[in-house]
Amino acid sequence: MTGSRPASALGRLALQPWLWAWLGALAVWLATIAFTRGQGAGEVLTAAFTFGTFFVIVAIGQMFVVTLGPGNVDLSIPATMTLAGTVAMKLMDGDNGMLAVGLLAALGCGLAVGVFNYGLIRLLAIPPIIATLSSSFLVQSTAIWTNRGLRIKPPSALADFATAKLGGLPALALCVIALAGVMHIVLTRTPYGRAVIAVGQNPRAARFAGVDVDRTRFVTYVQAALFAALCGFCLAGFSGGAALNMGEEYLLSSIAVVVIGGTSVAGGFANVPGLWGAALFLFLLVTMLNTFGLGAGIRLILTGLIIIAVIVIAGSSSRKREG
């Protein structure tokens, strides 16, 4: 990206990797309200921000992991979400006074899973995909064992906060927009963020340049698990309790949001704004297909084809950048 810079601001904008996700989200939203003749335009956006929030929380963590380079994917995100949500709900047992304890417990679960994941990667010298896959089996079992099929209601304060709206936008979404802003600065301006990108581009070169590769990877895996735990906590609060399958769709979606958002799967190249664009895009896409009256099957097929189309287009434009 640091090669030849186009002079005009518009030219620079066209090269931004996150642009496509946002344009896609806008196009899909316009198509939806054109179909309904403007009815429910605001409600659709509110819903998109509500549900997009949860995707963005996990995708931030997944993005840092993916940026570490080929083979780095966290497959334990759904299990971590479920475990954190279940443990927190069980501990709080609907009591507002226990809110802080519940949040700490959820984050504690995340911390434990993250440390365990990295321990496996480091001690067994196995690819992160396999390490997080194996640990996700264990974590999922722990969640099943804790949950025992019960659905404990979240404390009313948490439920109110998770569903609250400020001027048409969900309060939680506003918090996560701020969170994304902070993580954008962490990625682009802090030594840690730079280290993640450097390791993703070339771990050997990063090591020679004085980057502590092991510590960078450790922090990244712990961070991804912490975000997954946070998401599980919020989602359980939002949906009236923790369910055992609550993380299921986040396995593939967290990867999809990262990729559509313009982060390179080969690593070493990431951006935060694209995560929000991609999360909104994916939700609005489903809404649009629903509005058109298409069934679940067609919806899934089109979602898949669009993910592939995005990667084909993104792939060819990144080659142009290199060449």
């Binding site: 083979g71 994917v73 497959l75 496996l120 001690l123 067994l124 010298a125 196995i126 690819p127 995909i129 396999i130 896959l133 194996s134 640990s135 996700s136 089996f137 264990l138 999922q140 079992s141 722990t142 099943i144 064992w145 025992r148 593939l252 990867i255 999809a256 990729v259 799967v265 080969a266 069934g295 679940a296 099957g297 067609i298 919806r299 899934l300 097929i301 089109l302 979602t303 898949g304 084809l305 669009i306 993910i307 592939i308 990667i311 084909v312 792939g315 060819s316 080659r319």
Partner: protein
């Protein structure tokens, strides 16, 4: 470890690891419940490992060229749905649809190769497509297994239970094809050093087409075997096969890089994972820990392999 390294070379130990793990878990089950050590018991224990083993072989073909297939679970679900509907009602249409599935898999490989795309993302997208097609075909669980398939899957050969016969046959056929044949060496070489293979005059496109088509074929077989056992299908029937198949290949000694895979190991890995699930019920432990047991065994075997590798590095 060094004493062990002197007794047996690490290479041999590593090759034996999948077999030892399988034997260990079988022995543990026999010890807990001696009645399973019978024709009938083994049949019950290993029945469901046939489709998982076939899906694992499919995943192994993809891992052979350092790609990863996140769509095999959805694909097996789709082929299971086709088997339980079209293949049963209008066999000609069913066979055609299953052939098209294999062609689509090969096309997926060609797309990944020609545009140099990350396999994870393309197969991730395709997993939605397969699932969508399966939902279209069978919106609610149902369908019926063709009678001949049902008969085949419940076959009772003399002396040796059918799942073992099937596992041995599939493992040997793929072993001979991939590990012993001339083109098999090219296929694996493409994972080890693609440029060298290309310079030697082999088409990498052809290699990818072949491997993805083979994966598609074994995915079809997995779907058919699954329906033969369960007698009906459902769009979500095999979604967990994606992760199980990756785990199976790795458990069987496969690695992510360099075209290092082992068909026999992969089949044993799949069987070990299936047995890990049943192991707990024989321990009279909480079934909640069933998935956890699979994870624990995976970690245990990988830890042993890491120890062996460390011993190898220390040895002169």
């Amino acid at each position: 470890m060094s004493a062990l390294a002197r007794l047996a070379p690490p290479r041999l130990l590593r090759a034996l690891l999948p077999a030892v793990s399988l034997a260990a878990i079988l022995a543990a089950i026999f010890w807990l419940q001696p009645r399973t050590a019978s024709y009938f018991g083994l049949n019950l224990l290993l029945n469901l490992s046939i489709p998982i083993a076939l899906a694992t072989i499919a995943q192994m073909f993809i891992l052979c060229v350092n790609d990863l297939d996140l769509s095999i679970g959805g694909y097996v679900s789709l082929t299971a749905c086709i088997t339980a509907t079209w293949l049963n009602d209008t066999p000609a249409l069913g066979v055609l649809a299953l052939l098209l599935c294999v062609v689509a898999y090969a096309a997926m490989g060609a797309l990944i190769h020609l545009r140099q795309l990350p396999s994870i993302v393309v197969t991730l997208g395709m997993s939605f497509v397969w699932l969508g097609l399966a939902v279209l075909l069978l919106p609610t669980p149902g369908g019926q297994a063709p009678d001949w398939l049902r008969a085949l899957m419940t076959l009772k050969p003399p002396y040796v239970p059918f799942p073992i016969v099937a596992a041995v046959v599939f493992a040997l056929v793929v072993h001979v094809g991939l590990m012993r044949s001339a083109y098999g060496v090219v296929l694996r070489g493409a994972g080890g050093n693609p440029r060298a293979v290309e310079r030697a005059g082999w088409s990498l496109l052809h290699v990818k087409l072949t491997l993805y088509a083979l994966a598609g074929l074994f995915g079809v077989l997995a779907g058919m075997a699954l329906v033969g056992l369960t007698t009906s299908a459902d769009a979500n029937i095999a979604l967990r096969y994606t992760l199980l198949s990756i785990a199976g290949v790795i458990l069987g000694g496969g690695e992510f890089v360099g075209g290092r895979v082992s068909p026999i190991g992969a089949v044993m890995g799949a069987m070990t994972l299936t047995l890990a699930g049943s192991f707990l019920s024989f321990l009279r432990l909480n079934p909640d820990w069933q998935i956890g047991a699979q994870g624990a065994i995976l970690i245990l075997v990988l830890a042993l392999r890491a120890l062996i590798n460390r011993a190898e590095r220390r040895a002169p």
